[in-house]
């Protein structure tokens, strides 16, 4: 049994740009902005960084392949820099790599930085997937999109628990309305308007049964984290946060190719949750987790995650949602930042941005959306689609 990295690594500095439709900013502008905030926050200089990981997905959006874009933008002095691409979970993957580097002793200080410029595609939403995956996939798979991939989970979940489309959509609307509210309290969020449940219910359908407000913002942005070994953290700041566990689970193909999966949950979230809880020593998640940031690319993803992370019992998420359990003033606030829904989703940056929110909350710097005395925060970062994906779950805490 691996012993994991619980309490081996600390986050000592973070940075995050405002997310949004940043028409007049380049990837370079965003990388520099996130980096400068993180370095200043950690109180270090560029030369102190021993290794870096760069998360970005759509190289066509002016970032290009490989890690050289990060190295050349920041003029990193011939240190190891690696690009990570693992769907939308790339940000947490870069963070995981940086944590392992310092935990192993290969580096004393490591940087994880994610950036994406999605608003240079010329259309809303992410690019289609079916046509871009090579000839055999182009022929054998539907030309599916992200909303189409997740909407299927909604139809399966509604069918399994006997929810009408109206009942199901109303629970999802509560999630989106809550995240929009949280986003209004966050100056860096992409979308900062209240959206009432009724407006969400009536919105145009993007992929049945998901409407416009069930879908997250597609944004430009960058986020960065600087980590070191936990025992050195206090040299840099008095209030570092500590990494309790970082787990990732990747689809085996069972969901897409074997009839044993019913489409009403995300198998990898379940596994990544179990692994992260084990590494962090969490045995009663519903009681121990103070708050969490999840990958609400679509409202249905957030609903499934409540159950998959053992916070809501199977089939009981709707009840918890309507009881306000996950609202900002609820028992376990979910997506206090506004989530992907309203903070936005520049893919490569998202996983690190989630940790950024937990970092601010644990340090008591979350302004109007500050949660009272949180001890343990969780992030869940998803890449892919319910039927074929990978999930990163990380747990961070205030205390060693």
């Amino acid at each position: 049994m691996p012993k994991g990295i619980k309490n081996e690594v600390a986050v000592i500095g973070m940075g995050c740009t405002k997310f949004g439709e940043l028409w007049n900013k380049t990837a370079e502008d965003l990388i520099v902005e996130a980096f400068q905030e993180a370095v200043a926050d950690a109180g270090i200089e560029k030369k102190d960084i021993d290794a870096a990981w760069f998360a970005t997905i759509f190289d066509a959006e002016n970032v290009g392949k490989s890690a050289v874009r990060l190295a050349t933008t920041l003029k990193l002095p011939y240190i190891p820099v690696t690009r990570i691409e693992n769907f939308c979970a790339s940000g947490t993957e870069a963070f995981r790599a940086a944590c392992y580097a310092v935990a192993s002793g290969a580096a004393d200080i490591a940087l994880a930085l994610g950036c994406e410029k999605l608003k240079d595609t010329g259309y809303g939403g992410l690019p289609d997937f079916g046509t871009l995956l090579g000839t055999d996939n182009r022929i054998t798979l539907p030309n599916f999109t992200a909303p189409g991939g997740f909407a299927q989970a909604a139809t399966s979940y509604f069918a399994k628990y006997g929810l009408t489309a109206e009942e199901g959509k109303r629970a999802l609307a509560h999630i989106s309305s809550k995240s929009h509210h949280n986003g209004t309290l966050n100056l860096k969020a992409h979308l900062r308007t209240e959206v009432p449940v009724e407006t969400i219910m009536k919105a145009p359908i993007i992929a049945y049964p998901l409407g416009l407000y069930d879908c997250c913002g597609v944004s430009d942005g960058a986020a960065a984290a600087i980590v070191c070994r936990a025992k050195d953290a206090k040299k840099f700041r008095k209030d570092p946060i500590y990494v309790k566990g970082v787990a990732i689970s990747v689809s085996s193909g069972r969901e897409m190719f074997h009839t044993s999966w019913d489409g009403s949950y995300i198998a990898t979230t379940v596994q990544a949750g179990i692994a992260a809880y084990k590494e962090a020593g969490v045995t009663k998640p519903r009681e121990e987790i103070s708050m969490f940031e999840v990958h609400d690319c679509f409202s249905i993803t957030e609903l499934l995650t409540y159950e998959d992370l053992q916070l809501s019992a199977r089939g009981k998420a709707v009840e918890d949602i309507h009881n306000g359990f996950y609202d900002l003033d609820g028992k376990i606030p979910c997506n206090p930042s506004g989530g992907l829904k309203s903070f936005g989703h520049p893919i490569g940056a998202t996983g690190i941005r989630m940790i950024y929110e937990m970092y601010l909350q644990l340090q008591g710097k979350a302004d109007k959306r500050q949660i009272k005395d949180p001890r343990l925060g969780l992030t869940m970062n998803l890449g892919g689609f319910p039927l074929l994906n990978l999930i990163s779950v990380s747990i961070v805490g205030k205390d060693l």
């Binding site: 599916f144 189409g148 299927q152 139809t155 069918a159």
Partner: protein, 483 residues
């Protein structure tokens, strides 16, 4: 003795009331009021001659063994490919053996009966035991023309052989003329017609009778010897008098399908024959005539085996499954008659790797997946390592056909974001009878028709077009199953 051993047909789901066309284009050509009656069958955006003829051939495979088929002929004047044999695409989709003889028959509207005669010759001369003949058309009438009204889309298929014959082939008589009623150059889309009165009187009115009478004389028959006479002429008003001139009574004349389908060109005689066989009884004699640069006359005698050849969709089954298609603009888009702002998403068109198609072979064309010999789990596409989490055996796979399996919906959506010629794009996970799961496109349905757990069946469609590089990709989709 050679004859027909099986039959099948295909008519697309979409039916357009011809008044819709007249409302849009009658201002220009008021004379089309005469043909603006009834419905025409319209191929969906993902259908063409290959996909429809393949669907008819699949219907015709009902009760047949793929291994027994020695050849496949395809007839049409609207073949998608000028080079890449169209027939082989269907032969592969049906998962026929590789040592089969395949050919395209084209050029004339009598290509359907030409292919049928060639197949009958092949099995009659002992060159094969069983031969598939499919004919399909997806002809586009020029906007404003009478053909825009009369042309319809559809396909028919016949299996011919020497055993278990349902309609014995008794003989034929053919005439060939360079009669220039309609013509079209290889690079053209639309036919050039000469005056319709001339075509009617000197073409249909003289050439079909010459073939029919030649056959009667050759075999010493009378028109009254036939239970059904198939006259594939789209001129419905005129056909009754024409039949009378031939010496046929009204009840002998098979419906020309113009009220519900339209003129399916080279496929029309075969489709009408299929309709006749659906209601035929042992002992019936059928006179099949074709038209186009001459005429072929063939006659058949139905055998008691006909009663064993039921249980397929054929013409009546397809006529019953329909959906109104009353948007002329959508019709123009489906047939690529007007440019559409497809947006940046729609413009994305990566090249197709021909090497990959060759590597995938029947996996893509015939939907042949694999089954694990260790645990029996069917899976698609080809996997080396068994996907069953309880098994995981490596290299234990044998081929497994999904194409004839029924499915059930696990999850679905109607996607308005992705590029589709007919949004929303409906797709989802489908589990198949006997095991196996595929992530598939749905077609010929509305989002409100789809439910989790709903039964679906497979259909062969054109998945995408790459006109820039001369390629159409074909694949399988699912449609809601009847019942």
């Amino acid at each position: 003795m050679a004859g027909i051993t099986s039959y099948g047909a295909y008519i697309p789901w979409y039916r357009m009331n011809r008044k819709v066309i007249f409302e849009q284009m009658g201002w220009f050509n008021a004379a089309t009021a005469g043909v603006a009656r009834g419905e025409k069958a319209v191929a969906n955006y993902d259908e063409d001659t290959i996909s429809m003829a393949c669907s008819a051939a699949l219907d015709c495979m009902t009760g047949q063994r793929r291994e027994d088929v020695d050849g496949l002929y395809l007839a049409s004047t609207s073949l998608p490919f000028a080079q890449r044999q169209n027939a082989i695409v269907i032969s592969d989709a049906l998962d026929l053996r590789s040592n089969v003889r395949t050919a395209d028959f084209a050029g004339a509207l009598k290509a359907g009966t030409a292919a049928l005669l060639a197949a009958l010759d092949a099995v009659g001369s002992g060159n094969g035991a069983s031969w598939m003949v499919a004919a399909g058309e997806c002809r586009v009438g020029k906007p404003g023309s009478a053909q825009e009204h009369t042309f319809g889309d559809g396909a028919g298929a016949l299996m011919v052989g020497t055993k278990k014959v349902i309609a014995e082939f008794k003989g034929s008589y053919s005439v060939s003329y360079d009669f220039l009623d309609y013509r079209r150059l290889t690079e053209e889309r639309f036919v050039h017609p000469w005056e319709d009165r001339w075509i009617r009187e000197e073409g249909y009115g003289k050439i079909i009778p010459e073939a029919a009478q030649g056959l009667l004389k050759k075999y010493n028959l009378k028109m009254s010897d036939f239970a059904k006479i198939i006259i594939p002429c789209p001129m419905t008003n005129w056909i009754r008098g024409f039949a009378k001139a031939l010496g046929a009574k009204d009840e002998q004349v098979e419906d020309n399908l113009q009220a519900a389908v339209g003129d399916t060109g080279a496929a029309l005689p075969l489709m009408m024959l299929v309709a006749a066989l659906e209601k035929a009884k042992a002992g019936d004699r059928i006179l099949l005539l074709s038209y186009g640069n001459g005429s072929d006359a063939l006659w058949f005698e139905v055998t008691p085996e006909i009663e064993k050849a039921r249980g397929r969709k054929a013409i009546q089954g397809h006529l019953a499954k329909r959906n109104d298609f009353n948007t002329y603009g959508k019709y123009l888009v489906f047939r690529d008659l007007i440019p559409l702002e497809v947006g940046i998403r729609g413009e994305i068109n990566p090249p197709t790797a021909m090497t990959v198609l060759w590597q995938q072979g029947r996996t893509i064309s015939a939907l042949v997946g694999v089954r694990c010999k260790a645990c029996g789990t069917p899976q698609y596409p080809k996997h080396s390592v068994c996907v069953n989490p309880e098994c995981g055996a490596i290299g234990q796979m044998e081929p497994y056909r999904f194409a004839d399996k029924a499915g059930k919906v696990v999850s679905f959506t109607g996607d308005n974001l992705t590029f589709s010629w007919d949004p929303p794009s409906i797709y989802g996970l489908v589990d198949f009878e006997g095991g196996g799961r595929l992530f598939m496109d749905f077609t010929d349905c509305r989002i409100e028709d789809v439910k989790v757990g709903m039964p679906v069946e497979l259909t062969y469609r054109r998945k995408y077009s790459d006109k820039q590089r001369g390629y159409y990709g074909y694949y399988w989709k699912v449609v809601p199953a009847k019942g």
